[in-house]
Each structure stands twice: as structure tokens, then as C-alpha cells.
Amino acid sequence: MNNGYSQADETLDGIIDYYEGQGFDVTFYNADQWEEQGFYYGGTLDGVTLTNGGYNPDKEKSTCTGCECDGTCNKPNPNEKPQGHNPCENGGCGTNVNDADTSTSNTTDGAGCKKPPTCDSDTQTLNLSTCSCDDKPKKNWKLDKDNDGFGQQKSAIKSPGGDWVVGTVKGSDCDDTVHADINNNDCSKKPCKSADGKKANPLINMKILPTPGDISARNSKPVNGDFGGRGGNHNGVDLAAKPGTPIYAQYDGKITGNIVTSWPDNMGGLSWNEFRDNRKDSSLDSNSGGNRFRLEVEVDGQMYHIQYMHIQEGGVIHSRNTEVKAGDLIGYTGATGSVQATGSGGPHLHIEYWINGQYKNYADPKNFFQSNFDEFGNTTNPCE
């Protein structure tokens, strides 16, 4: 192939005039496009003399010898480019780049070919160096530092495979994306949901305080965790839960209300009253509910605010106005606030329902649970 034009014509207009005079339709390429088409390119194109412009016969054939997982070519000279198209694009994998179909071929017969396998995006990642699927690190961590079996914030955690990982886990032994049953270390469990999926329990294990060991004291007034207990002053329900137990949204809604996150789990050896008094000196929140947040929901046309109290340090995981769906993880239970000082029966989730979002306008939370309870606070309907 001959360029057919002289150095004197090597201006943009000269090239256009020449080739159009030869009956060609002229298409211009920028520098990269020009080289992609297999042409040498000796200088800037627009308004500048082209030197050494011309077709590169050596690029009639791509020098790809195979394709990598990421779609790049194996080439003897990495600076060379495939002719016209990249035969490795779109999952292509072939060596005969004279075959125009190689760019879309799925054949695996080429030497050096690496055809990427299809990996399970939930559990695997594509390893480009081996062109194979590697298992993702499992996140259902076992808190190995103190073998407590349930969640506190840890800086060193151990995977099931035994690999130490430095990181932070809030609350759960299990992956946040898996609905964890922290009390039983069964990461496959999820909270009970209604058949239509619009309503869920706030915890996987539902148990109104007192805990099983205190069943005989359920009617003992100081620790009665039921709605209306404690002389009518208990405006919510106390659900027994080890600190770090995941809390789930009962309905679709959005995080709202005054979000308090300033209470730590560790009070430095002080009693709650001493610790609270120190906080008051610095004007920090002194409400005995501890860390807390609310979820605004609508149930049968009625708006409610669900108030969650005694949340673990770091257990408020959403900011205000975050929208959530029924069954979504929204936080972790704890024992902040007055749990340690009021004989309330141990760590628990205090949950209240405010009709129309109005304080002191309470509804019995039990009316909104998927579970029903017997006189001892145990659920009577197994979760399907």
C-alpha cells in the first residue's frame, strides 16, 4: 500500500483533498484511533505536518498469543496493539486474530488462553493471576479473644479458618449481612417475619424479661419487663438480649428522633450513678435510657415512633433519615444507661411505641411483634 501523497501534501487539508480526489470517503482519527487502525503516526494531526504517516504492514496481524482474565492480550511486545479490535474483549479468547470473530469468540482452544470462569459474586472473587475463583474471606467471625461467644467491640478477631484479622466487629459474631443469632452463634437465623414480609420481630430470640433463670421473679414488680409494669411506669417492653445482639427493623421506615451515641460500655470501674454524675458535670446526656434512637414507621395507616434504648456503644449504626426495610439490621443491643443500676433484670432492649411519634402516648409493643408470649414472657408461636 502506498500513501500516494507527497510530503508537501502532508497537511490535514492536503490529505483530505488528495484522498477525496481519489474517490475515498475520508475519516479522521485522533492519535490513538490512528494507531488502533494499524497506522504509524508520526506527529500531531490537526494543523501540523504529518511525517511518516502510513500503514504498518506488520500490524496486519495481531500479535496476541492469548487473553488474560481481564481481557488484555498476551503479546511478545507489550507496546504493540492488536489490529482493529482487541480479540480478548467481551470474553473473547483466541489466537488467530485474522479471524474477525475472535473478538467475540468464547473458544478456549488458543495457546495461553485464559478464559475467566464465572464466579459466585456472593462467595467468590475472580483471581486474575490464576484466572480462577477464590473464596471470599468468611465474615462470620468468632470472637476469639475472650471466648465470650457474643459481641463486644474487638480489635482482634479470628476467622473460622483460624486466620487472625485485625479489625473491628460491632456486636455480632456474624457477618452484618447475615442475620445473626448471636445468642446461639447461628449465623443463618433471621428474625421472624410475617408471610408478606412487611413485619418482622426486632430480635431473633424474643423473650420478655426476666431471663429464664428469673422466671419465678417475673411477677416480682421491680424486674417486670412487660408493658405497664413497675407501677404503670414501664412504658415499653424489655426484651432479654446479651449486649451486641442485632436489632432488626420491624417495618419499613426511617431512622428518626434524637439519636444519642455518647454512652460508653465501660464506665471505668465506677457505678452507674457515679459515672452519670461525672457526665452531668460535662453536660453530657444523662437520660437513664442510655444510647438510643427511634424508627418512624406506619402501621395500618397510623404513624409510630419506635424507641430503642440501652444501645451498645457503637451500636447505633444509622444516621437520622436513613431508610430501612422490615428485617434490616438497624443496631445492636447493649446495657448503657441505668441497666446496671435499677434492677431491671439485666441487659435488654427497651422498646417503646409512640403513637403519632408523641412522647407519653404509648402503645403496647407486644401488639406489633410477630411473636406472641405466654405468662412467663416466652414466645408461644415458633418462627416459621
Binding site: 421491680p222 407501677g231 411506669n233 450513678n273 454524675d277 452531668k280 440501652h310 434492677g343 431491671s344 407519653k360
Partner: protein, 178 residues
């Protein structure tokens, strides 16, 4: 007849053992008047609220200077439409922090040695010997937390005694709302 007596004695023994295991069993409810100085702290059973008191009444209840005084309509923390009073009385003998929150019962934290707390007929002060406290607690039942904290329950609410060097370090009163 002997068998019946044995069963009766056995039942009595079991009953006593059960009570010993949980020292809160012999609590009484709705029976105790509680005073902080001259200010009556109404407990749950009385169904009274802090609005039974005026700010001036509260201020005059203690012969200790006020060092902090907050009186306001509660904000979103409490949902609004509620009062929030927070007073600190303090001098060289200690301090009293008194909080009336969300139209609930007053709560207090007391380290002042000259403000007595009256529970029923018992009068207790910060600095009193633990021996006096033991006698008092044993007549009512108590719960213990660690070596330095004791609780008694009064009408669903909680009185906390902090102990240090065999004497009362502080006295606190909390509602049991959450």
C-alpha cells in the same frame, strides 16, 4: 402425725431457703415514704409527679447553696411538653444533684453529709457506718453489685448505696423506667 409434722417442717425449710436465695423477695411495695432532706420524693405507688412541687419549694428544701440550676421545657430528648429541672446544691460537705426529668419521679445523687435520706422510719446520711446500713438492709432485702454497691427497691424504684472504707460514700435514687 409425725409424717405431717415432718412435711410441715420440710416445707417451711424449703420456703426459707427460697427466700434466702433471692434477697429481693421480702421487698414490700408501695409502703415506704422517702424523704430527701425535707423534700418528699414521691414514689411510684403514690402516683404523683414532680409537678406537685414548685421550683421554690425544691430550692428551700436544702440548706446548701445552689451551684447549678436548669429549668426548661424539655426538647426532643423527651418529646416536648414536659418539664426538665436539674439542680446541683454544693458546698464543702459535698453535693446533691437532683434531676426531675420527663415528668417522671425525681432522681438524685447525694454525697453531701448533712442532707439526710429518710426511708420509712430510717434516717441515713452519707458517711454513716456500714454497720448501720447492714442492719437497715437486712430488714428490707437488698441486691449487691460488686463489693461497693448495694441496692434496695422501694415502690418499683431503686435506692443505691455506694460503699467505701466501711462507710456510705453516696446515696442515689433512680426510677426504673427503662
Amino acid at each position: 402425725m409425725k409424717t405431717y409434722i415432718k412435711i410441715l417442717i420440710l416445707s417451711f425449710t424449703i420456703s426459707c431457703q427460697a427466700q434466702d436465695k433471692d434477697q429481693t423477695d421480702n421487698l414490700a411495695y408501695c409502703n415506704y415514704d422517702l424523704y430527701l432532706g425535707d423534700l418528699q420524693i414521691n414514689t411510684s405507688c403514690n402516683k404523683k409527679t414532680p409537678t406537685d412541687y414548685s421550683i421554690s419549694e425544691i430550692k428551700q428544701s436544702f440548706n446548701v447553696p445552689i451551684t447549678k440550676e436548669i429549668s426548661k421545657v424539655a426538647d426532643e430528648n423527651t418529646g416536648g411538653n414536659s418539664t426538665y429541672w436539674d439542680f446541683v446544691f454544693k458546698d464543702s460537705s459535698g453535693k446533691l444533684s437532683l434531676e426531675i426529668y420527663d415528668s417522671k419521679l425525681p432522681e438524685f445523687y447525694l454525697t453531701h453529709s448533712n442532707i439526710p435520706v429518710t426511708i420509712g422510719s430510717e434516717v441515713i446520711k452519707v458517711g454513716d457506718s456500714i454497720s448501720k446500713l447492714k442492719s437497715f438492709l437486712n430488714t428490707r432485702g437488698f441486691k449487691k453489685q460488686g463489693n461497693n454497691t448495694l441496692f434496695i427497691f422501694i415502690d418499683y424504684n431503686v435506692v443505691t448505696f455506694g460503699i467505701e472504707n466501711n462507710s456510705i460514700k453516696y446515696i442515689a435514687f433512680n426510677g426504673n423506667y427503662f
